[in-house]
Symmetry: C2
């Protein structure tokens, strides 16, 4: 064999050492830690993606996601990639070149949607709001009325700034102006109330690695009837094969009368893990999950205020209950704090992201980590980290 | 909380039962089974994608992939999605609207690339060949000379038909005609020789779930200097944020002078698993892996011929050593055979895919399953399956 072949490169020595995976307590904005049950499922031996047992797991995931999104949409499934691919899945299916899309920009994720819409040849229009604030219904209506877009894109959970967007009433405005309502619910789903059907959300994507408590790398999406109709009657091809919902939904068994056809090979281990995380969601129940996340968040905020911290989001009703943002006190180098917490507690808490870098700390209370014990530990670690950084600043 | 909220849907009962993941021996064209070490890594607790330990794992993956591809390309990394997303990553970065791309079509994967290039607004031109045959250098040169494309796309391992494409000499032709050479090596890498740099391949993607022996859902890619230059000097934006190599390579630390910046949250569990699979590749060594896969394939083919089977790929030099295609004998319902093998042996062997459906059986000898014991078991199961189907046909 080797006579006509070139000589081999030397094997890389770094792969001859054992892998090093530390145990970290993830109290940042996600990914969060997963339960033992979820981790175990992820470490299972592979099965084929076209085996009937895999289809059953996918059907269970669909049922769990319909419950999590509170929707009866048949096009409810998981895209094979991270939450960002979920954003792409929603926009690449709904937008055609030249389509106007009004995008609420009050943090990183709105900016990312602007960037993506531009790449897709659509016409993104920014509806801007200060960092740390949400959009009022009247501001949204003015935007819809002025720009008459095809799609309105809002971030339910702006994890870069810790803002939650009220969605009650937005769907009605969108129907009034014949606009599709697209929502990023990455950092909020199952951590705070979300009612896709009742709130008239036309398309949504979320993160598995946040309150759902599964690993990252697979992204739940759901499309309502109005969105499906837009996708089915496009004039131009969808600029992706992987994300083309017309065919991906066939593999996922979303069509009553169509047998499943191979589309691509999904990450079967992540299907196992997501199925188990959703089973835990169903077992605990959404109302209990919302309550647990609200309590963890309240405990965290009370502790922060008692320490003299200032929350970045001023209006209480704008505060995201899964990711809390804290104003960096004057004279504190934020990296010193997060580094101390990691070095001393093997715990992640985060600085800002994108436009909030240097402005905030972010502490997440997500999934298995939304408990009083973890919150108290995070408060203790954060307090020590601040003291450490203050001391360093004085030296 | 619930006063203003609608009432909840009932929790789905199917998620209250335990998950069922059977143990299957995967002797189809992939995914294949993974080693215990790889499965265990996949089941680890999550760490953050921006933690230094995760960057180290990503660096180890890059080193392992450079070895597997036999390349020194700095833009060697893994895309967060299945192999199909790897195809999209390569084409969406290299193609602009109107660009001519010549695509070797001799099975499903060439068809998929045609479809994708069309979606991206490029001008795909099919260079066609009969199913079961590869492209000769002279045919390739005639195509390049006639069409003068920007990109030539060839499938190294046409797993739908079991054909391997010779690549020696193709790179030189592409340089002669100033064409970029893009290769799909999904089902071949580390199972058969592949020398990216020596063969002058400009961009490549592969599958983790084939001979590499990792789970599916993450896709190794590599871009050489000529491809990078084309990407860096595009006139139109890349129609995807997730796959934009200019920025994704920064998160992966592919630029000597650029610190890593957050791009997206990758599937950290799949990074763990891929790292361990690549460590096993390095420990065994490419030459040993090629030899083991060649021996497993030879044993399988000898057994099939002894049973009176006919191989679908007539010319021995066109035969892919990782996936063997077998002509379905007259009067045999292929589904009866594969179903028998699954029911009796919990083993997957496959029918055809796309254009080869109803024409072939496909048996894979990939990764941990490329051993004499597994081959003998597959031969036994297949033989019984054929007898079962013959009996059923007579009844």
């Amino acid at each position: 064999m080797s006579s006509q072949l070139p000589s081999l490169m030397a094997p890389p020595a770094e792969l001859l050492s054992p892998i090093h995976i530390p145990q970290h307590l993830l109290m940042g904005p996600g990914p969060t830690n997963v339960s033992e049950r979820v981790a175990k499922a992820c470490g299972n031996q592979i099965i084929g993606h076209m085996h009937k047992e895999c289809f059953k797991i996918m059907d269970e995931i669909k049922a769990g996601l319909r419950y999590a999104f509170q929707t009866e949409n048949s096009w409810t499934l998981a895209v094979s990639g991270p939450s960002h691919l979920g954003m792409e899945a929603v926009l690449v299916n709904l937008l055609e070149p030249g389509d106007k899309v009004l995008i609420g920009v009050n943090g990183l994720w709105g900016n990312r949607a602007m960037d993506l819409a531009n790449r897709l040849g659509a016409k993104p229009i920014a509806l801007r709001q200060e960092l740390g604030k949400s959009f009022s219904l009247s501001k949204i209506e003015r935007g819809l009325s002025k720009h008459r877009p095809k799609v309105l894109f809002l971030v339910h959970s702006e994890s870069s700034t810790g803002v939650m967007q009220n969605l009650i009433g937005v769907g009605d405005l969108c129907r009034k102006y014949k606009v599709l309502l697209v929502v990023d619910a990455v950092a909020s789903l199952v951590g705070v109330p979300f009612f896709m059907d009742d709130w008239k959300v036309d398309a949504v994507y979320t993160g598995t690695q946040k309150a759902i408590g599964a690993p990252p790398g697979i992204c739940p999406v759901s499309f309502g009837r109005r969105a499906v109709k837009v996708i089915e009657t496009r004039k131009t091809p969808i600029k992706s094969y992987m994300l083309d919902m017309n065919i991906l939904t066939i593999q996922w068994g979303c069509h009553v009368n169509l047998p499943r056809i191979y589309h691509h090979t999904p990450a079967v281990n992540l299907l196992f893990a997501l199925r188990e995380a959703l089973a835990e969601v169903v077992e605990e129940g959404l109302e209990n999950l919302w309550k647990r996340h609200a309590q963890a968040s309240a405990r965290l905020r009370a502790g922060l205020l008692a320490m003299g911290m200032k929350l970045f989001v001023e209006d209480e009703k704008d505060r995201l209950l899964t990711v809390t943002t804290i104003v960096i006190p004057d004279g504190i180098e934020w990296r010193k704090v997060t580094q101390y917490v990691m070095d001393t507690y093997n715990m992640e808490i985060s600085g800002g992201l994108g436009p909030s870098v240097g402005k905030v700390f972010r502490i997440g209370t997500l999934g298995v980590n939304a408990t009083p014990e973890k919150v108290d530990l995070a408060l203790q670690a954060f307090k020590e980290g601040l003291e450490f950084a203050r001391l360093k600043a004085r030296l």
